[in-house]
């Protein structure tokens, strides 16, 4: 190995050492800086990509249509919440508490990129702190839960999708009130784990957020159970969930508190 090549190799080694000693918070700031730097370019390319549809589809009608669709999305998510509230009323719980836990502002945002890694499942949105999207807000569509905002830069934000292997959402089976944790895995499956061995869960049961942990408000639709299995130890049951939101084809989400 000649001197030039050796110096090149040591450059990488130096970066490697630097990486080990830099605090995680600083690394996060570097990531936000890099993403912010390239974001205008990405938005410009996205705009060019969408230009024909904006030009040829009648801008006013389209805008009205988008607004109406957003309104429908809001109303549909309200219906899910109201169903949940009705059940809660039946169990003599206070509706007021539910309203308090789920009320708040919401910001619609467009998905402009997806995670480039095979291990992760996250989305990058075109809005960030400047539009009031903050860390730990939740992302939903009209169909159901998408994920949680894990990072928020000035002009972008990152949503960890519920199918990400690192995602954890506390959930409840709407019919039987059995509680568990929703987890993603590397196969792209979503599982409701840590159910008791004698838990009352069936195929086609609806799973919603339980509100535990205070990140995800109570009663947001997650999906339907399509398979139930028992753990190898026979101590737990777990169920496979088909997400209500089409996680592979999300174009817009509503970020809410």
């Amino acid at each position: 190995m000649n001197l030039k090549k050796a110096s090149a190799f040591f450059t990488i080694f130096f970066i490697f050492l630097l990486l080990l000693i830099i605090p995680t918070q600083t690394k996060g700031q570097v990531r936000v800086f890099v993403t912010n730097t390239v974001m205008p370019g990405f938005k410009a390319i996205n705009a060019v990509y969408r230009l024909p549809s904006i030009l040829f589809k009648g801008s006013k009608l389209k805008r009205e249509n988008i607004e109406l669709k957003k309104e429908i999305d809001r109303l549909k998510s309200q219906i899910v919440k109201l169903n949940e509230a009705e059940l809660e009323n039946q169990r003599l719980k206070q509706l007021l508490e539910l309203d308090k836990s789920s009320s708040g502002y919401s910001v619609p945002a467009r998905v402009i990129a997806r995670d480039s890694s095979i291990w992760r499942d996250s989305l990058i949105l075109d809005k960030g702190r400047s539009k009031n999207i903050k860390k730990n807000m939740i992302a939903i569509t009209n169909q159901g839960l998408v994920g949680r905002v894990t990072e928020s830069g000035p002009w972008f934000s990152r949503v960890m999708v519920i199918s990400d292997p690192n995602s954890r959402v506390s959930a409840v089976v709407q019919r039987s009130r059995e509680q568990g944790i929703i987890e993603g895995n590397v196969r792209g499956q979503i599982r409701l784990k840590y159910l008791d061995a004698d838990a009352d869960v069936q195929v086609d049961d609806i799973v919603v957020t339980s509100g535990m942990g205070s990140v995800f408000p109570k009663g947001i639709m997650i999906g339907k159970i399509y398979k139930v299995k028992t753990d190898k130890t026979f101590m737990y049951k777990y169920a496979f969930i088909k997400p209500a939101a089409n996680l592979k084809k999300i174009e817009e989400v509503l970020c809410t508190k």
């Binding site: 190995m1 030039k4 090549k5 090149a8 190799f9 450059t11 990488i12 970066i15 490697f16 990486l19 830099i22 995680t24 690394k27 996060g28 570097v30 990531r31 890099v34 993403t35 390239v38 370019g41 990405f42 390319i45 996205n46 402009i112 990129a113 997806r114 995670d115 480039s116 890694s117 095979i118 291990w119 992760r120 996250s122 990058i124 894990t150 990072e151 990152r158 960890m160 990400d164 292997p165 690192n166 895995n185 590397v186 196969r187 792209g188 592979k248």
Partner: protein
């Protein structure tokens, strides 16, 4: 080897990063998609040697780091190493052979993803190794290797090599 403008390099990598986070999803089979950025790093290292390989690797890795939720800078180091080693051994390999391109892409993918996995695991909890290897890394390495000759043909047109005298 001939010089490549750093702006050209940055532009190609930026465009590839854009393709990776947008259109590569259309190529997704199950959870697997080709790593276009890795192919571009291999291409530049093959054509430009160790220094260009490292530059391309660092830039591509930095963008991959920015667009993934894993620990920051791990991909930069991983891709820089890929650029270095491909550049180092480039003269011993027959670059124009389709089999060489496929084999190098396969080997680089496996080596870099295994390195990244062990490296990133220090900072972040990674998914189980066996599942990652058999469900993600090996299928994705094959998919990426299949894609490599296509990307090489496109990049050869954009950045044609000088004929040897």
């Amino acid at each position: 080897m001939h010089k490549v403008n750093i702006l050209f390099l940055a532009l190609v990598i930026l465009l590839t990063a854009f393709l990776q986070v947008t259109f590569a999803d259309a190529l997704k089979i199950w959870k697997i998609k080709p790593d276009l950025l890795l192919i571009v790093v291999i291409f530049f290292a093959f054509n430009g040697g160790t220094r260009l390989g490292i530059k391309a690797g660092l830039l591509a890795g930095l963008l991959k780091d920015a667009f993934t939720s894993g620990p920051m800078a791990c991909w930069s180091v991983t891709f820089a190493l890929v650029g270095f080693f491909v550049g180092y051994y480039k003269n011993r390999l027959y670059r124009d052979s389709l089999y060489t391109q496929v084999f190098i892409a396969l080997a680089c993918f496996l080596a870099s993803y295994l390195f990244y996995y062990s490296f990133a695991d220090v900072f972040n909890k990674m998914p189980p190794f066996g599942e990652s290897l058999f469900c993600l890394i090996i299928p994705a390495s094959i998919y990426t290797a299949i894609f490599t000759p296509i990307i090489f043909i496109i990049l050869d047109k954009v950045w044609p090599r000088k004929k040897a005298l």
